[in-house]
């Protein structure tokens, strides 16, 4: 990569080459670096390679998998794959779409991760047609292990992150921790709960959607209050919370604390002006 850049940009300084390397996507070496890269992409939507593509590509090195994809879904069965890091997993997503079954489908409909470390040994009772299709459709490439995670916030489910490996083997504890943090990042891109809420350093790992830390617990409860007030699902309630926080220049966790303590009424967050 470095030699390539030097070749294309003779005479460029070291700092200049570093910038070009950053823009062209050097391998991302940690979840924290991924978080930063995503933030950069979000602040410049015109930049080539949207945040989801960055996320999918980063999975390969961060999780020691051979491919990753993110698909959004809804309750009526509509699916759209936002990114796929290679042809193999793109094909797997297409197969799922065609057959209406598969690991990502299962993860989305059940809200549970689907972890198949060895496709041959573990068996795939939930998607037998897809499993047999995999062998014939993908001659020359092999999918030996699949890990699919729902992207969800409570009962609001937005889609899935799916990973595969060409060799069988389970995710190590470290790779699992990274994968779950990347799941949190992907969920954040879709549902939009900002990180760094609990006073955690913005340089630290992304805040988990399943955190019950006091400030985050109040966000869950405040979300519920808004859901009851307006009869809306969780992701819309979160949108209102976020909108109000932004409009009033306050942190989400402070708005949530006010709602839970009745210093603020859910009805005060009605309407677009929120």
């Amino acid at each position: 990569m470095a030699a390539e850049i030097r070749g294309r940009h003779p005479g460029m300084t070291f700092v200049g080459r570093w910038w070009v390397r950053m823009l062209h996507g050097a391998p991302i070496r940690s979840v924290a670096a991924l978080q930063t890269a995503l933030a950069v992409r979000l602040s410049d939507v015109a930049a080539p390679g949207g945040p989801f593509q960055v996320l999918c590509d980063a999975c390969q090195s961060l999780l020691a998998v051979d491919g990753a994809s993110v698909t959004i879904s809804n309750a009526t069965g509509t699916r759209e794959t936002l990114c796929a890091s290679n042809q193999t997993i793109a094909l797997l997503e297409q197969l799922e779409y065609t057959l209406g079954e598969g690991p990502a489908h299962q993860a989305y409909t059940t809200g549970r991760p689907v972890l198949i470390s060895d496709l041959d040994a573990d068996g795939t009772p939930e998607w037998p047609t897809l499993a047999s299709s995999l062998a014939s459709s993908l001659a020359g490439t092999s999918i030996a292990a699949i890990f699919a995670f729902p992207l969800q916030y409570g009962s609001a489910r937005a889609g899935t992150l799916m990973l595969y490996r060409a060799t069988a083997g389970r995710l190590s504890a470290e790779h699992l921790a990274n994968a779950l943090q990347i799941v949190d990042l992907a969920t954040g891109l879709l549902i939009g709960l900002p990180d760094g809420m609990d006073g955690a350093s913005r340089d630290g790992p992304p805040n988990s959607y399943i955190s019950l830390a006091p400030a985050r617990g109040r966000v869950h409860q405040a979300t519920g209050m808004l859901m009851a007030e307006f009869t809306i699902p969780a992701d819309q309630a979160l949108s209102r919370l976020r909108g109000h926080a932004f409009a009033t220049g306050r942190l989400i966790d402070d708005v949530a604390a006010d709602l839970v303590a009745s210093r603020l009424r859910p009805s005060d967050l009605g309407g677009l002006g929120g």
Partner: protein, 257 residues
């Protein structure tokens, strides 16, 4: 405040707990109901003031998933231990951490935030029992008492059995896919807790109740209808069940109260 139960009351409670635990393991259920059952029974059986269950989030931290009371202050005290405390220590070492006197200087030195906070809330002793799965610790059972002196045998042994039951309840099956099942179960239990928190908020607002009463209402409704708390909470948060239906059960008490 709990008093140490009489021998007869304790035996009756033990038999009842054992029967309920076995029932949940035989029938179709989810871990969330089991974990809530365990923390409630821990308080009754062990004569402690409060019990809480924390599980690993597999991202490097722990989260509280069940507590004997949903008072915000108590939940915060449990959740505080994700950063420091006997629960975290038990999780890391895989050994019980038994604290006889939280007010002692050595405890404040060891846990400078947790110890004073716990004492301020009226708790003088803590027993943290790890949830072990072979070589791995997946969480811990926290028991707080308003009296000095952590658990000793036979209570300690019983607490370890309860923690073990919680571990089995989460894993549910002995299988070669143990690690995968564990991850699936833990992550689902954690997300279910978020749904329950959202449902608490819904019921609290709709019924103009404090949050802990909202939880009790949810739990009573679930038991009365022999449904999983997670299912009822999911139905509420997906608008397939209306808050007022659940709130109508506010006056009733389940038989286990």
């Amino acid at each position: 405040m709990s008093d140490v139960p009489s021998a007869a009351a304790r035996e009756s409670a033990l038999i009842g707990t054992f029967a309920d635990l076995v029932d949940t393991m035989v029938d179709d259920f989810d871990a969330v109901d089991l974990l809530h059952l365990l923390v409630e029974r821990s308080v009754q059986l062990l004569g402690v003031a409060a019990a809480g269950l924390m599980i690993a989030d597999q991202r490097g931290s722990m989260q509280v998933v069940a507590a004997s009371s949903e008072h915000a202050r108590l939940l915060e005290l449990f959740q505080l231990q994700a950063a420091q405390g006997p629960c975290l220590d038990a999780f890391h070492t895989g050994q019980p951490v038994l604290v006889n006197d939280l007010d002692a200087v050595a405890m404040t030195e060891r846990w400078p935030v947790f110890a004073p906070e716990a004492v301020r809330s009226g708790y003088l002793s803590v027993s943290a029992i790890p949830m072990r799965l072979r070589l791995e610790t997946i969480g811990a059972l926290n028991l707080f008492s308003t009296r000095p002196g952590a658990l000793t045998d036979p209570d300690l042994r019983l607490a370890q059995s309860l923690a073990h039951a919680a571990t089995i309840g989460i894993l549910q099956e002995r299988t070669l896919r143990r690690h995968e099942i564990l991850t699936e179960q833990l992550q689902t239990a954690l997300n279910n807790r978020v749904i329950i928190e959202q449902a608490k908020g819904m019921l609290a607002h709709a019924g103009k109740l404090p949050l802990d009463e909202a939880f009790t209402t949810l739990r009573n409704y679930s038991r009365h209808h022999q449904s999983r708390m997670s299912d009822v909470a999911t139905a509420l948060t997906t608008q397939t069940l209306e808050p007022r239906e659940v709130l109508a059960h506010r006056g009733t008490r389940s038989t286990t109260e």
